[in-house]
């Protein structure tokens, strides 16, 4: 029996946001696409465990996140320097991850602990409810709320948002240059 086209279309429709989430986790578009591909293979192999009518994006995001986490557990070296490598990737390949105008924001995001970054993306960018984000991350709703709050507070600090001009490309350039001394 072939896969229900409606289900297939739901999967396809989620791919763009899956990629955006994967890139925010990996910081590297090639690795992110590998991760998405792996997620799709896994999901379609286990499509029976998806309950039609439930939240397809949440289901796929959960699979992707679990794959990402288990891959990280395998590569210990990366775990130890996860944030450093992430930042490094962003600096060396800004064009891979997006437009340069987001560089400062991206650099600040890279400095957040992985848990906080993930929670902020899920709620603030992917548009998941706190409940869905908690389910995806396998933690309590209160934990997600707290992570999102801390992430926002830290981002505001890092970006030193106190005036409109502070969000411009000049600061972005400075942030990238300053980031070079962080190792």
């Amino acid at each position: 029996m072939k896969l229900d086209p409606a289900i297939r279309d739901q999967v396809l429709a989620t791919v763009p946001s899956l990629r955006a989430f994967a890139i925010s986790l990996c910081g590297n578009i090639d690795r992110a696409d590998d991760l998405v591909q792996e997620t799709l293979l896994r999901a379609l192999a286990h499509i029976d465990s998806f309950q039609p009518g439930t939240n397809m994006p949440a289901w796929l995001f959960t699979i992707l996140r679990n794959l990402f986490r288990s891959e990280y557990r395998k590569r210990r070296r990366e775990v130890e320097d996860a944030d450093g490598r992430y930042a490094e990737t962003l600096k060396s390949h800004p064009e891979q991850t997006g437009r340069v105008e987001f560089e400062e924001f991206r650099a600040a995001l890279a400095k957040l602990p992985a848990d906080q970054r993930e929670a902020l993306i899920l709620v603030g960018a992917s548009g998941f409810s706190y409940d869905d984000a908690a389910a995806i991350c396998g933690c309590a709703v209160g934990t997600i709320k707290s992570r999102v709050n801390r992430a926002r507070t830290r981002l505001a600090d890092l970006l030193a948002i106190d005036g409109v001009d502070d969000f411009g490309p000049d600061r972005a350039t400075r942030a990238v240059l300053a980031g070079g001394g962080r190792s």
Binding site: K2, Q10, L12, P16, P57, A125, S126, A140, G142
Partner: protein, 89 residues
């Protein structure tokens, strides 16, 4: 309900960041080390201004949607279609 989540992930218009219900810094669950000092009345600066929150949310979505707007890469679309046409167990 299930559809709502789907629509959310697709449209990326509305997110939960903006109209922040004054979620306090302090969850029931997280580590006590990070709780704000025992004052129950928050200092004004302890809570992010609406404008700042809005700007962070805006940047976040812009960055995210930059990728979303790239759509589905051909190889991933091919993969899904190929696997969908195979017999399922």
């Amino acid at each position: 309900m299930g559809d709502r989540g789907k629509d959310d992930a697709m449209k990326h218009r509305r997110t939960n960041l903006e109209p922040v219900e004054p979620v306090t810094e302090r969850p029931e669950t997280d580590d006590p080390m990070n709780r704000p000092a025992a004052s129950s009345t928050h200092k004004p600066e302890a809570r992010l201004g609406r404008e700042v929150q809005a700007r962070i949310g805006q940047q976040l979505r812009a960055m995210y949607n930059d990728v979303v707007n790239q759509g589905v890469p051909q190889h991933l679309s091919d993969l899904v279609r190929r696997l969908s046409d195979q017999d399922q167990d």
